[in-house]
Symmetry: D2
Subunit: 378 residues, 4 copies
Amino acid sequence: MSGNTLGTLFCVTSFGESHGPAIGCVIDGCPPGLSLTAADIQGELDRRKPGTSRHVTQRREPDEVEILSGVFEGVTTGTPIALLIRNQDQRSKDYGNIAETFRPGHADYPYWQKYGIRDYRGGGRSSARETAVRVAAGAVARKWLSERYGIVIRGYMAQLGPLPIPFVSWDAVGDNPFFAPNAEIVPQLESYMDELRKSGDSVGARINVVASGVPVGWGEPVYDRLDADIAYAMMSINAVKGVEIGAGFASVAQLGTEHGDELTPEGFLSNNAGGVLGGISSGQDVLVSMAIKPTSSIRLDRRSIDREGNPVIVNTHGRHDPCVGIRATPVAEAMLALVLMDHALRHRAQCGDVRTATPQIAALAPEGVQAVPSPRAE
Amino acid sequence: MSGNTLGTLFCVTSFGESHGPAIGCVIDGCPPGLSLTAADIQGELDRRKPGTSRHVTQRREPDEVEILSGVFEGVTTGTPIALLIRNQDQRSKDYGNIAETFRPGHADYPYWQKYGIRDYRGGGRSSARETAVRVAAGAVARKWLSERYGIVIRGYMAQLGPLPIPFVSWDAVGDNPFFAPNAEIVPQLESYMDELRKSGDSVGARINVVASGVPVGWGEPVYDRLDADIAYAMMSINAVKGVEIGAGFASVAQLGTEHGDELTPEGFLSNNAGGVLGGISSGQDVLVSMAIKPTSSIRLDRRSIDREGNPVIVNTHGRHDPCVGIRATPVAEAMLALVLMDHALRHRAQCGDVRTATPQIAALAPEGVQAVPSPRAE
Amino acid sequence: MSGNTLGTLFCVTSFGESHGPAIGCVIDGCPPGLSLTAADIQGELDRRKPGTSRHVTQRREPDEVEILSGVFEGVTTGTPIALLIRNQDQRSKDYGNIAETFRPGHADYPYWQKYGIRDYRGGGRSSARETAVRVAAGAVARKWLSERYGIVIRGYMAQLGPLPIPFVSWDAVGDNPFFAPNAEIVPQLESYMDELRKSGDSVGARINVVASGVPVGWGEPVYDRLDADIAYAMMSINAVKGVEIGAGFASVAQLGTEHGDELTPEGFLSNNAGGVLGGISSGQDVLVSMAIKPTSSIRLDRRSIDREGNPVIVNTHGRHDPCVGIRATPVAEAMLALVLMDHALRHRAQCGDVRTATPQIAALAPEGVQAVPSPRAE
Amino acid sequence: MSGNTLGTLFCVTSFGESHGPAIGCVIDGCPPGLSLTAADIQGELDRRKPGTSRHVTQRREPDEVEILSGVFEGVTTGTPIALLIRNQDQRSKDYGNIAETFRPGHADYPYWQKYGIRDYRGGGRSSARETAVRVAAGAVARKWLSERYGIVIRGYMAQLGPLPIPFVSWDAVGDNPFFAPNAEIVPQLESYMDELRKSGDSVGARINVVASGVPVGWGEPVYDRLDADIAYAMMSINAVKGVEIGAGFASVAQLGTEHGDELTPEGFLSNNAGGVLGGISSGQDVLVSMAIKPTSSIRLDRRSIDREGNPVIVNTHGRHDPCVGIRATPVAEAMLALVLMDHALRHRAQCGDVRTATPQIAALAPEGVQAVPSPRAE
């Protein structure tokens, strides 16, 4: 157990290096009876895959997934589902110059000190390539959540470097390479990125994810709170440096009268909680926001050291995303799906017999309807 | 496993309700040979305990801890350490009115829907009283981390509601009830709180925690990253709504040239990473910041519903902290200690034989020395 | 995680030393809504407790259990149930002579080498006193299994040293201190034990446990098979050296035509499988048998070494069971209950939606009815 | 987590069905720095693979293993090691007749009732084909155990149906298809098997495994005892119905003076404990014995039911081992290696700093040397 397994009951065990033969995972704990084909997974992988616009890495990976087990005649059997994605476009020579030096902002130095050995090709295990596995596994979870509970999980880019992206509509998200919920702002994002790419620098981003239709009662009260597990899952994504639930850091300056979401028979009046109270889902939309740091690989000179501890100048060529946040939206959605799926199963394990006479409150009362899906101003 | 156990190798299993007979925990996995007495734990509990100033709840709990097992002649034996804290000042009648209604912002409604039964007295299991257990367990972890590795874990309040608290020195932290690293601002904080208390409202806060002396190499690369586990641990604290590592949300607008911490033989030149690269400690200070929402219990009228779904007005009397953030600093320190302890053991399990010839870089090069312990402007 | 937690979803974390202040456990994952009082647990503890006949240790422990959490108004709430049993009759001076020497057959030597420290008083953590905790936790599990599924778990002594105990009836089990299912043989057992006690020696025993009413479908296919988890649970009981499921070691010499249990619409025709096929319950009685070694503490001279490695003669006085198997039946029943409970929850987590049109076969067809509950000849 | 992961720190997650595209596993937690090639694993797989003599199934599977990750330039990196074995010789039509009926002794009926769907081809997930994965993962563990600690793990067949196989020497084991430690008895075993095969029936076997060179101190005291984890691991092997440690069931009739292994400065005088005391290794040989039931697939008529619950006659053709015990020895060795490896890492996680002045006692004093590696008479 070196931290490559996610989940308590819906468990994803991930493997693979950026330039090794393959990446993939084993999903253990999927309920039987779910219709599942490679195409169900492929659709999600295609949303994340590299090389789809000039704003992302030009590595050409079809990310074609093969289901090795756990599915019989198109239906899950309850046994482990192994997913395999062969790497196709490894150009390890591009990265040869990093074998002896530690790239600033990368995991090179701590990996080396931890393990005493390092697959430096393309970042090895620390490459964002691993996030394809998360998306593949997440596709299984979101299919089950959708079919069993009608849950919808959607994300979008809320800020690109210095540019906030006001939320306009979900419809826009799929129509641009940034996952921006706002068609009008796209040209501005494109020119910002073109400029940035020319400069050789990189930039950060903010991604928001929303799960709608989550029933009240999922999560645990103390450590494995639903929001704690979400924070863990999101912070485990490469380059994430911050996670918020609901009002997030805005809560710091809020008064109790502002923050506490009132309940009425018609629904909640606001959603500062972000759909989680005391670690347990409230039935409101689960609102998550995360900060993604600028890509560490840049084409500009940076100071570092080599394996002997001598000073060197590092300048990282090769194929990189100038903003890793651009492809992060499907990854964040997948992680949210995986956490929800796990808690769905955990909940019914312990509380499968519980029935109350209290009605489930609507996510938002009519007066609480929001134009943007999150209480954070973007 | 309903989420009341924290940690993979240094495991804390917590129990207890706010108004039940006792709270406590079992720590499994503590290395043998650590000197440990109740007094070692009591000192930390006393920092968190209620009733120590007019700005916190007036519930009188001595929080006296008894060690039930795992220690023999003042030394840990490697067997489970059970810690017991009897509740003393339960006044359940104060809370009787909440049996039938759901307090806004509290876990009442989702608990009820999840379990179909609810110990409503003082919030039951969802009460912040449970955080005493975290502090007690954390005291064991920080003692071992300190004696074995010289690690120092310190926290402070960085913002109280609308008032940022500029970091001046660690020395100030212990001298005021707010854990403010700034003696001069204390009168301002006190008058703010006095005003707030009179108003019946509550407010949020920001808490920062720093671990110094963490060796390079702790953590895991993919899911159980050191920062992911920290995010989980912090978000699991009652009322936390956001977590940042290093530059946190400031990373969104940073360029790669700003964010990526350069390395030199003399040390790192900055610490935007917050001491974690690719999920693994870099040897720099581990920097964590968190948002704490305003206390949900306020003495002002709020709309809600009762168990039958009828509209009601809730106005929460009883004894409460008007800002739960005030007592959160020792809790946050304890959680960081628990995560680090767990990863210390995990690291040596897998990598106990690793030795490299590469020297460990200093946390910060002389030119990188910072007046404040975090790159976030407060 | 040093192995003091049992179970994946119904988790029991045990603590305590034989001569420390207390023993106890935290049960995490119990479904809410179960009626539970200390008396429910006490009844099971009384079946195991020492000092109830001249054939067992004369240590006087009331084994009085206190419920510290997780129960509200007599009903489980779904939060952790902490159980506390204070030790009363520690006479550590009886054991002072074992501080420096390693008793043969005991854990003294490996404990010392593993931990470098050892609570030698009464065996510390390795004492069979810890089994009281198992019985207490098991009482919760068996109550739920009984109320929710009608499962009955019963055990008996099948052999005492050289004396096989033919199964006559369940009724006899509660009427003698040996848990012998055979009233007639009791005088023989008593005189054997009286003789043995005089000799200062000790002896082994065989215990059988049967769970009736387990639904078809509990367990997992590969590693965490129901029978694998049972084997683990039973072998974890102090002094157990062998575990059998169904026909057990008799299978070695059986032909396939003898061993394979045929199915008919009226029921199975035999139960060599012991109620588990491919790791999953078949709906038949779960049949478990275990070997318990002779007590290691005997009043006869034995060769050993001391902490410096010098040869010594050890002769163990103090209060001991001359046959630890005599009090093992309630412990074995408890362990079976804990494993079944865990798998009940695991099953509904993953397969809660499964319904088949195939009828559940009866445990045994009329022609398969057995006089003894196990296919092993005793 | 549906039970397809073995181990706490050295974790093997297995996947694959008998007639699906592939079987394999992900090993998480392997220490970095171990030399490892596919050939290291292949050697062990070849010992287990089918079709190597007329006494085992004639399915032709090369069982060729591919390492997909976790190894860089022939050395483990500390990241997950994924192993892939493509299935080659699936003849699913051979098994078509079992889609609608439940074979006696097989997992067909409980699988169907548990999951509501079943990959019946060759037994699907419940096929012994999955044991190839265990052998592959075990090869990694035993290599590390051998290189790091000099541990040797060896097994042999101790009984074939009614024929006990007296232990003569380890040398003989590799020279016959039965893993018999006795060259002289091989012709007798062969004629017995030829007879059996003709009859269409099947038979059980007893397998013994021994680990030599295990240091004192591995294991945990209460639930996760070394012997409890071994019992779990062995009972999880297909067809195993009983597990013994050391004297096993012979302990039942032993006196304490017979069973308790005396210690001298020159070594232990006997090994009834089987190398485990109080759940912790004693430094003696770890002795494990297991019962393997007769193969459930036989060519003789058996009564059963179909999916509608109607009575049917089942007669299983296809390719089967008439005694699954014949190929079980490498599997049992692998399982023992996996458990020891896991506890090696667990031990150093918690007790990595422990040093005692007490010398490690020899496994056996000169006077205790045994001709056979186990105290059980075979």
